[in-house]
Subunit: 389 residues, 4 copies
């Protein structure tokens, strides 16, 4: 477990290796946190939930860091308003790295203490998965920061951008009947961990459905744009149409039409849109509108999971919008204390995504994983899988 | 059908019989339309969807009324921005009543033409149910307008306020298993009509569940208030807690604490809150927070419908918040043309309510009816039914 | 004085004689108060400042009207938020007229009491001028309400619209030197009354200046529009350019280009813009931009007053924007109590207008009168007089 | 002139010597620009207005920097929206310093070319004063950035904080009569430069007035706070009272009450408020309210200038709010081209400050200097001088 800790913690820093100090600091929109904040916040999580309660004589690194790096845990006390994260120039990036080193040293000391209890194990596993969630956010937030800079800087980022030979698949048909949903045991899922929102194994009844074997491509989506998809209300949910008009949406995030040619910002800088790759950085509204334009629909999260557990659905290149609202499974309960704020309180106004993306850390995906965002958010790596019938 | 038409149309006007001319005009918040607008809009619906296409030689009443009284039908053309409905002093109330009389006369002429086709029947039935939906909105919007007036005027309103001897019931337990959801045939539902969002009969799998036999009362809800429920984040969804703080929420809508005593605005003016009656005018956030405070939860719309079709669940005194997002049933499709905008485009960001209220017109309720509102809306007659286990 | 009271009070009601009940109720923007509110507020002013303190045994008409009809007098207590005036359907228009009659009856009783003190006289004179100020606001607010209705209704309004033979004049040149500014005695000003902001007679030193003998016409202003004046930043103050862009300004208020022809809303409905008449309903930003485009400037309020007291400057058809900020004269002091809130607290962020308009009641204008509005406001009858050199 | 250029340019960098890289990047409110932006913008000014038009064969440093570092010169083309300055992490601080060095090198080459014309001289002088204006903004913006950080960091800043033995003076009385206002010749003003807004020498007529010999102190201002000055509408302009309530103002900017004791943020960190020092970082609204509470008033800019040119008024420790709006002097004209946007277009909605502060660069103050800000701005070093009678 110590080795895993060190490897995962090192990966967070590896994501930032190409950044200039300035890139760590800003928050161009409220959703996008400064990379410095992610590095500090994940460290604060270890300090607050592992070291302070479980390592005797632990001295916290800095009295004010709890205030600075708490995200949304009301249980733990006051925190900097989310909108102000990007105005805090101190602690500096160097201090945040010192904070990380200090906490890592104490965690290592903690691991060396012979006997970790099951409670310890559970807590550390949660911390590791929490760190991994922020690794994906680090990548998407860095992309947002650099992708909105008028200089469109390229950067060295340790992820594998998709190439046109990415894995494709064949459609998957689910027979009508009862399916079991939710995270079962380690044996069944080949993984020992899940978040609380995946618990509550339960049955659902599905009608016969066929899911597409591959995601909608840039080329297919371009046809929607060129057919006037963004200018015709009838493909859009009412909220989606309001969003299109309020923000003058005309294309996925990071797309720019330059001299008649569509480009998109990538970590390699501005590049031509490749029609063979899956469309990315779209909102739920756009995914839904595209499906309607095609006369089709998005899958529910239950259809997706049922298809994914069969093993024949290739997934993992993009988070996939479902048409399921993020709501509790039967029997869902929240843990006592701050950890109980992890998932449950966000079960309102968000839509479920399933799958994983090129920004998802290795080992941080599984067929039962429930990702969720408000339907207008585009900045994650999100794509479209259609239900064909 | 002509008789039904006349009766339902007359009821819309009967709801307004106690209004002063001034009460017809204003729009204190964007959700609440001026009564004058409701009377005009329902009339415009008849004119646009029945008379213009189906009554030969029909002359529209006024060229500009389509612009003024269209609500959200993008198909039909430009419309007054919703937020400006309350700034239109013309047409006057008297002109709107003349408009109603003109359209009613022509509808009567239409009915007198011998042979209504099935298409005509379907359109008229939709128009009648549309008018009934606006009757409930008329009542709730009038209550909002008068309930926010510093003089708290009483008004004669043709609804039966609940009294403490309203019908109570016993808990209903659903066995685990498969249930059928959605509007079936007239024989099964003892009704010939449903909206498109109820179609798509399908099966769901439910776990064993017991629904409370009666709604949460004012007295029970008061205990939540007095226990500091509105000041403790841990009972609230994240969006709900933001809503509580942004609006300084402390109690249901229309409640006022005067000299230490809770009062509520009713159509009879300000009255003491009666602890024996069901709590009303609460948001989904409040319903959910109350349930958490009790360690319980709200039912899903499927549990509710399954219990309601058994016949043993007494319902109809208040719309009941479920914990289901408003989403399409399997196989849901939207009709072509403007009528297709009726329900489908709102399937985002809203929660389902089931049941009916004292403001629901007679004959306008059924166990499969899906009402829906954003989770922060309080101004309908909404209450709480808990799942006991 | 009783006769004057009755005549002025009757004029307020005469302004409203063409209104429908609905027109009395709404507040389409925060600046524009419902006519009902003006009628009630002026009445409340008489009740609060004259009857309550000075008529023994006076019983106020309604306990809640002070809350409803106070405008901005913090001294007198809580009041309805300005933005909510247009949501109050009660008291009804009929009740407001009853309120007026009740207060008028008591004022008449007050006048019949033989001996009015000088303090009484001063208070009544202030009340009369206050009522006259609201008469001009009544006219401009009614114009705004009807001019923003999609039906553009015509209305009978007791003012004389300008005709092309309105009085013109010749330029007026002021010699360099010292001028006296401010309201002096009744003999000098042929009037016994002024507001506190005109007091503080003082000297100013002016350089030689020539003011235009007539106001800028619609035809002249149209040339500015057609020359792209609204699309070229260089004519505009920085705040003005922001205002043009935020509101997509393209012409004066009430102007509409229909089939290539400019129209404007008047109390007679939509009419062609007459190029011979003075331009009207423009903001300070527009007046200033027009002057710059001409390579000229607006006068200061001191230049205007100095020219006006000579008697050779024809004025009174439009309020005229000056380039003076609304600030206190030397020695300005505010009265004790609520009356002291009349003018002084608005001496920030507003520009002075001089003159009068077709909406100004007879006897309510004088060369020393200081009108004032924020520089973006267009809805008064405002025009442009240039300084020629 | 070359020596002066090098000295002034070096001072800009000297102001930033204590900053961390992170401190250069953020923009916590729209008024406060990132230090990096100031360093780049002043350099862009030299490049755009001197090097590009006047140094043959000059190659601009980077094609995109005009877009990035233009402030408000519409003439020169598109620019980054002011609110987005704080989201640009690139160019980096290091690149901005390289830009400065590049432009400095070329300026030095320009100076070495033998014959500067008078036009060159004027342009360079404007550039130097422009740089100095931004030096004061650099200091105040850095103070805002660090003063709003929850860690309240201290920083080495090359300015002399006031000590209690700062120069005091005696009241200055102006006799009634005519005074000359505006920048005259170099001999009269012991300075060769002024901004365009100081030109237009003209006469004003002043009544007898006595200006206080010293500024209002923290101790005196504290008495206003403790007397409930921030809770009583009657001391405030209407706009000021709205500002107090909207922002819950209770004290000058940077004041914090900790354990019952008032502290203020300084470049040395949080310190006790010293009652002997002049109050600072207040808005015009606060200055005006304080004066009213004392039954006194602020001077006009003309009274201030007339008193300052006598030489007996000690000034220079704080910018002093006057009660004059920022408006053109008689005969004011704007230059052609971008330089003409320097001052004139801001003559709306702002109040004049006179004097100088501890943040004003040496040689950048004179009695005719007209500084100006919106009345709600607190973040400059601003104080209060009263008119005693």
């Amino acid at each position: 477990m110590a080795e895993q800790y060190q490897r995962i913690r090192a990966h967070s820093e590896s994501i930032c290796r190409g950044l200039e100090t300035e890139d760590y600091v800003v928050q161009p929109v409220i959703d996008v946190s400064p990379p410095k904040w992610h590095l500090g916040h994940t460290t604060w999580f270890w300090e607050t939930f592992v070291l302070v309660p479980h390592l005797p004589d632990y001295q916290i690194f800095h009295d004010d860091f709890s205030f600075v790096f708490n995200s949304y845990y009301e249980t733990v006390g006051k925190r900097v308003f989310r909108a102000d994260r990007g105005n805090m120039t101190r602690p500096t990036v160097a201090e945040v790295y010192r904070y990380r080193a200090y906490v890592d040293n104490h965690l290592n000391r903690f691991f060396e203490q012979a006997d970790l209890t099951p409670e310890h194990h559970a807590l550390i596993e949660l911390g590791l998965h929490h760190e991994q969630q922020h690794q994906e956010l680090l990548i998407t937030d860095i992309k947002y920061i650099l992708g909105h800079n008028p200089l469109f800087p390229a950067i060295d980022m340790p992820i594998d951008e998709l190439t046109p030979d990415y894995q494709l698949g064949s459609p998957v048909t689910l027979a009508e009947g009862i399916y079991t949903i939710g995270f079962r045991d380690a044996g069944h899922n080949r993984q020992s961990f899940c978040f609380d929102n995946e618990l509550g194994v339960h049955k659902v009844y599905l009608t016969e459905t066929t899911l597409a074997g591959q995601l909608v491509t840039n080329g297919e989506y371009l046809a929607f744009i060129e057919a006037g998809g963004y200018r015709n209300f009838k493909y859009w949910l009412s909220d989606g149409w309001a969003w299109v008009n309020a923000h003058q949406q005309q294309a996925p995030l990071y797309w720019h039409k330059i001299d008649g040619q569509w480009h998109q910002y990538t970590f390699d800088g501005l590049k031509n849109v490749d029609p063979a790759l899956p469309v990315c950085h779209i909102s739920h509204y756009e995914a839904d509108a595209y499906a309607r334009w095609r006369g089709l629909r998005l899958p529910t999260e239950f259809e997706w999971e049922a298809a994914a557990v069969t093993g024949s659905l290739p997934w993992g290149v993009r988070w996939e919008w479902t048409n399921s609202a993020y709501l509790p499974y039967p029997g869902f309960t929240t843990a006592e204390g701050a950890v109980g704020e992890y998932n449950g309180k966000f079960m309102s106004g968000q839509m479920v995504l399933r799958g994983a993306s090129i920004a998802t850390p290795a080992g941080h995906s599984r067929p039962t994983y429930r990702n969720f965002f408000q339907p207008d958010k585009q900045w994650q790596f999100k794509g479209i899988r259609l239900v064909l019938q």
